[in-house]
C-alpha cells in the first residue's frame, strides 16, 4: 500500500483537540475584521452596565423631584433631569435593561423557531416548502414595524407582549436565512453520503446540516438583535412601549420630544445611546459576516 501522506504534502504534526480548533476558528473570525472587536466590547460594556444598574445609578430612576425638574447637566445630575425631576443618567442605565432583555429574548425565540421552520422547509422541499415560504413571504413583505405596532396595540403594551410581537415579526427573516443554506448544504455530497449510510433525516438535520449553517444564523442573530432593540425603542417612542413610569429609552425620547425646544438633551441623550448600541451590534455582526463568507468557500 503506497504511503499517501508523503506524496500529497505534509500535515502539521500536532493535531489540536476539536475544542481548541473551534476556539481558534472563532478567534480568527473576529480578527478578520478588527471592527468586530470594537462592536463586541461596546456591547459588553452596555450589558455590564445594565446588569450593574442598581449599583451604577446615582438615583432611583423613578424618584421624582419637582424642584429639580428640567435641569441641564450638573455635577449632581451628570445628564440632567427630566420634566418630573428624575435623574436622566439613572433612567438611562435602567432603560438599558429593558431594551436588552426585550431584544435578547425576542431574538433568541425568533432564532430558534425561525431556524427550525426554515430548515424543515428547506429540507423537505416540495409542497411544504412552497406553502411555508409563501406564508413567510407574505409576513415579510408587510412592514414589520407596522405589524409590530398593531400587534402590541392589540395585545396591550406589556413586556411579554412586546417580546411576543417582536419575536413574531422576526421569525420570517430567520426562516429565510436558515432555508437558503440548508438547501445549499443539502445538495452537498456528504449529506447524500449520510443518506446512503442510512442516517435518519433528524440526524442529518441536527448533526450534519445545523453545524454547517450555524455561523450564518448566529451572525444574523447579532444583526437582528440590533433590529429588535431598534423596534423596541420605536414602539416606546410611539407610546406603545413598556408602560411608564418604567424607564425605557424610547419612552425617554418621547418625553424629551415634548420639551425639545428648551431641553434638547433629554431627547438627544437616549437617542445617542440607542444609536451606539445598535451600531456596536452592527459592527459585530457585520465583521463576523465578513469572516464567514470566504471561510465557507475555503473549507468547501
Amino acid at each position: 500500500m503506497s504511503a499517501a501522506g508523503s506524496s500529497e504534502g505534509a500535515l502539521r504534526t500536532a493535531a489540536p483537540s476539536p475544542f481548541a480548533y473551534f476556539a481558534s476558528a472563532t478567534l480568527k473570525a473576529f480578527n478578520t475584521n478588527k471592527t468586530s472587536w470594537i462592536g463586541l466590547v461596546v456591547f459588553l460594556i452596555v450589558v455590564v452596565a445594565a446588569i450593574l444598574a442598581p449599583v451604577l445609578a446615582p438615583f432611583d430612576p423613578n424618584d421624582q423631584n419637582i424642584l429639580e425638574k428640567l435641569r441641564s447637566p450638573t455635577l449632581e445630575h451628570w445628564l440632567g433631569t427630566d420634566s418630573f425631576g428624575r435623574d436622566t443618567l439613572s433612567r438611562l442605565v435602567f432603560g438599558a435593561r429593558i431594551s436588552l432583555i426585550i431584544g435578547v429574548v425576542s431574538t433568541l425565540a425568533a432564532m430558534v423557531i425561525g431556524t427550525a421552520i426554515g430548515m424543515l422547509a428547506g429540507w423537505h422541499g416540495g409542497r411544504l416548502d412552497t406553502v411555508t415560504m409563501q406564508a413567510m413571504d407574505v409576513l415579510l413583505a408587510f412592514p414589520s414595524l407596522i405589524l409590530g405596532l398593531i400587534l402590541v396595540a392589540m395585545l396591550g403594551p406589556s413586556m411579554v407582549n412586546i417580546i411576543i410581537a417582536i419575536a413574531l415579526t422576526s421569525i420570517p427573516p430567520f426562516a429565510r436565512i436558515a432555508r437558503a443554506p440548508t438547501i445549499a448544504v443539502k445538495e452537498r455530497e456528504f449529506v447524500d453520503a449520510g443518506r446512503a449510510l442510512g442516517y435518519s433525516d433528524t440526524r442529518l438535520l441536527v448533526v450534519h446540516i445545523l453545524p454547517n449553517i450555524l455561523p450564518e444564523i448566529l451572525v444574523m442573530g447579532s444583526l437582528w438583535l440590533a433590529n429588535a432593540i431598534r423596534t423596541e425603542a420605536s414602539l416606546a417612542f410611539v407610546g406603545l412601549g413598556v408602560k411608564p413610569p418604567t424607564a425605557t429609552w424610547g419612552g425617554m425620547i418621547r418625553e424629551g420630544f415634548e420639551n425639545i425646544l428648551d431641553s434638547y438633551w433629554l431627547a438627544l441623550v437616549p437617542g445617542v445611546a440607542i444609536l451606539f448600541v445598535i451600531f456596536a451590534l452592527n459592527l459585530l455582526g457585520d465583521g463576523l459576516r465578513d469572516a464567514i463568507d470566504p471561510k465557507l468557500k475555503g473549507e468547501a
Partner: protein, 312 residues
Amino acid sequence: MTTFLIRRLAFAWVTLFAVLTLVFVLVRIVPGDPAQLILGDQASREAIDALRQRLGLDLPLSKQYTVFLLGALRGDWGVSMISGQPVIREVLRVLPWTIELTLVSLVIGILLGVPAGVYAAIHRNRFVDYAVRISSLLGLSFPPFVSAIILLLVFAIALPWFPVISARSGSVMAWYQSITLPAISLGLISAAYVTRVTRSAMLEVLSEDYVRTARAKGVPWNVVIWRHALRNALIPIITVVGLYLGILIGNSVLTEIVFSRPGLGKLLIGALNQRDYPMLQGMMVIYTLIVVLVNLLTDLAYGFVDPRVKLK
C-alpha cells in the same frame, strides 16, 4: 413572461386575502368587549349595545367576515370612530404625503447609494472602502426617529433653516421646505442600505468569470464596471430595494411624527392609541395594497434587467 405575470398577480391576490383575514382576526382577538373598552366602565348597557350594533359587532363572526371582505373590495372600509368620516376618504387624503416622502427618500437613497457602493467595491480594502463601509453601517444603525430628531435639532431649531412643522402651503418653496428634512432623514438611512447591497453585489459580480472574459477582450475598465458588471449587480440590488421599501414605509411613520408631517403615520398612531378599529382595518388594507404593488413592480423590474426571466 405572461405566465410569470399571471403567477405574480395570483400571488398578489392571495397575499391580499391572507392579510385581510389576518387583519380581521387581529382586530378581534383583543381581550374584552371593544365597545365597552371604547365607552369606558361607566357606560350603560344600552349605550354599549347601541355601539355594538353600529359597529356590526352583534352579527355572527362569519357574517362579520363576509361584510368586511366585501366592503374592503368595494372600497367601503367603514367609518372612523374618531372623526366620523369614511375611513377610505381619510386614508386617501393623507396617502399622497406618505407616497411623496417615500419616493423622494428612495430616490435620494439610490442616487447616493449606488455610486458610493460601486466606488467602494472598485477600491476594495482601501481607505475609501473602509470609510464607506463604516459610514453606511452607521447610517443604517440610526433609528429613524433619532436621525429625524437630530436633523430637527440642528436644522430647524438651532439653525432656523427649516420649519419645525413640515406641512406644505402651496408654493414650490414651501414644498421644498416641508419635504427636505424628513426626506433627508429617511434618505440617508436608505442610502446606507443601498450602498451596502450595491457594494456586495458588485464585489460578487466583479469576481465572476465573465468579467475576466471582458478584461481579456481588452474592454476598458470603466466600461467593464458600468456595462458588464453593474447590469448584473442590479438583479440583487433590485431585490433588496424591493424588500427595503417595506422597512422604509415603516420608518416613514416615525419620521412623520417627529416632523409633524401629515401622512399615514399620524393616522395610524391616532388609530392605535384610540382603538379606532375601522381605521386600523383600513390602514392595514392600504399598507398591504402598497406592498403588493411594490412586489409586482419589483418583479417587472427583473423582467427588464434579467433576460433569463423573460423565458418563464
